[in-house]
């Protein structure tokens, strides 16, 4: 929950609501990008960016190398598996 997981923004799905599709470990899901955009860095510019995603919200922009390293570390901690399972199972209960 607190560690987040890196993903890449592959589509801006709803610019008005600041929603994007992010690919995280091969899984695509909607992510809110409100916390990483402002006047100087508009929504459209985010396409292709690597971001750290916390519970469905992009909280920080990171570079590709950092993303790969973070994914590796999270995999060792078992966090990637847990996050992906949570994403797949979400809402179904």
């Amino acid at each position: 929950m607190c560690l987040g997981i890196p993903g890449r923004i592959v589509e801006i799905s709803d610019a008005a609501n600041k929603l994007a599709t992010v690919e995280i470990g091969g899984v695509r899901r909607p992510v809110n990008i409100a916390c990483i955009v402002d006047e100087e860095y508009p929504v459209e510019r985010c396409l292709g960016d690597w971001v750290l995603v916390h519970v469905g919200f992009a909280m920080s922009r990171i570079d590709e190398e950092q993303a790969a390293r973070t994914l590796e570390a999270l995999t060792e901690l078992g966090e990637v598996q847990a996050e992906l399972a949570a994403m797949r199972g979400s809402g179904g209960g």
């Binding site: 929950m1 609501n17 916390c35 469905g56 909280m59 920080s60 199972g89």
Partner: protein, 380 residues
């Protein structure tokens, strides 16, 4: 026992261990007691145990695993409130998976679900909002919990619900805030902690400045750290360097993610939707002033506490449970009377046994309960 070879950069890890050892020898402590360093973030606790860092550190350094796991510090009464909401026939109760097993006074959410309550695990509050959109005849309640890392996500979800005019979505707000919590720990009379490893992702949201008082008023240094084992070692090295040089400052090891200002957009959303409660009850720590958040009046229609009857009965922690003393570093997990006997991960009595980020569960799972420090040579 883990090995340095498992680290991403074993050479760097070895060098850091050597320097930490050398610094530890230089530092004089009161009565020859070990230096106590508290990590405030549950993610750090998890990493420390996963990599067995504690056993590889010099004896002079003692890690205290602080209250950084929001699931662990949830009091029984709040779990009972969740159950009261979840058991209403019109409610779909949504929660992060971590909270499912936390014991209430009668049962956990998982047990309530088995008995027929509509409890659903979600990955994100956005998924709870989607459930509300898809089930207009039901009431979807999201169990909002966590420190500043998850706060912006629930605040923004409420703002999204407002923008879309979704009327059947609400939050049961149990967010807690880090600064009053650290302050309460610093104010407790039995505290011995000498310095802190600061939380990485909370700091990503709030920045570095809110910690200044810890160095200024309480004369304890704090180093904000990432969660990878090398980050933690690096941050420990920075902390020990401060001790050795007689400095007491707030430093940032995790500068690839954390800057001084925090995340403006996130803080604005949080300030818009939430306000401080006068006090909030914690498992193991009792009541801490201004440590919890509630929803502002302007968002009352999204507040489950205002929309539904919530019992809010205060239930004391079990008498046998010593979570509070473990949290403050007064005792080690295995020194608790019920550790590993009445209290196990399968049947947790205390909060710290519930989640993998809780120090008791971590000791239990990773065999830290051996009560012996492994020799440092084993790490080479």
């Amino acid at each position: 026992m883990k090995y340095v070879d498992e680290f991403r950069d074993p050479e760097k890890a070895k060098a850091l261990f050597r320097e930490i050892e050398a610094l530890a020898q230089r530092i004089e402590t009161k009565d020859g007691k070990p230096l106590q360093v508290m990590e405030v973030c549950g993610g750090h606790t998890h990493s420390i145990f996963r990599y067995g860092l504690e056993a590889m550190l010099p004896e002079k350094i003692e890690l205290v695993h602080g209250p950084g796991c929001p699931v662990c510090v949830l009091p029984m009464g709040r779990v009972d409130d969740c159950l009261a909401l979840a058991e209403r026939p019109e409610v779909i109760f949504t929660t992060f998976g971590d909270a499912m097993r936390v014991p209430g006074s009668r049962k956990s959410l998982m047990q309530a679900k088995a008995e027929g309550a509509d409890v659903r695990m979600v990955y994100s509050p956005l998924d709870a909002l989607a459930l509300a959109r898809d089930n207009p005849e039901r009431e979807v309640v999201f169990f909002a919990l966590g420190f500043e890392t998850t706060m912006p996500s629930t605040a923004l979800t409420v703002l999204q619900a407002e923008a879309e005019g979704i009327a059947n979505f609400s939050l049961f707000c149990n967010h807690i805030t880090i600064i009053p919590t650290i302050k309460a720990i610093l104010d407790s009379p039995d505290l011995r902690v000498d310095g802190f490893l600061g939380p990485g992702h909370v700091s990503m949201v709030i920045g570095n400045r809110p910690y200044d008082f810890i160095a200024r008023h309480y004369r304890r240094p704090l180093v904000i750290a990432g969660f990878e084992p090398l980050d933690i070692l690096h941050a420990l090295w920075m902390l020990l360097t401060q001790f050795a040089e007689g400095r007491c400052e707030i430093e940032n090891q995790y500068d690839r993610i954390v800057d001084g200002e925090g995340n403006r957009q996130a803080l604005e959303a949080v300030a818009k939707v939430f306000e401080l409660r006068e006090f909030f009850e914690w498992r193991g720590l009792g009541s801490i002033d201004h440590s919890g958040l509630r929803m502002r009046e302007a968002y009352a229609r999204f507040d489950a506490e205002r929309r539904f009857p919530v019992p809010q009965v205060k239930i004391a922690d079990p008498a046998s449970c010593q979570c509070g003393e473990v949290l403050k570093g007064v005792i080690k997990p295995w020194q608790c009377k019920v550790f590993g006997t009445a209290c196990t991960p399968e049947t947790p009595v205390g909060a710290l046994m519930v989640s993998s980020e809780g120090s008791c569960a971590a000791y239990y799972q990773y065999g830290g309960g051996s009560r012996e420090r492994a020799p440092v040579e084993a790490a080479e």
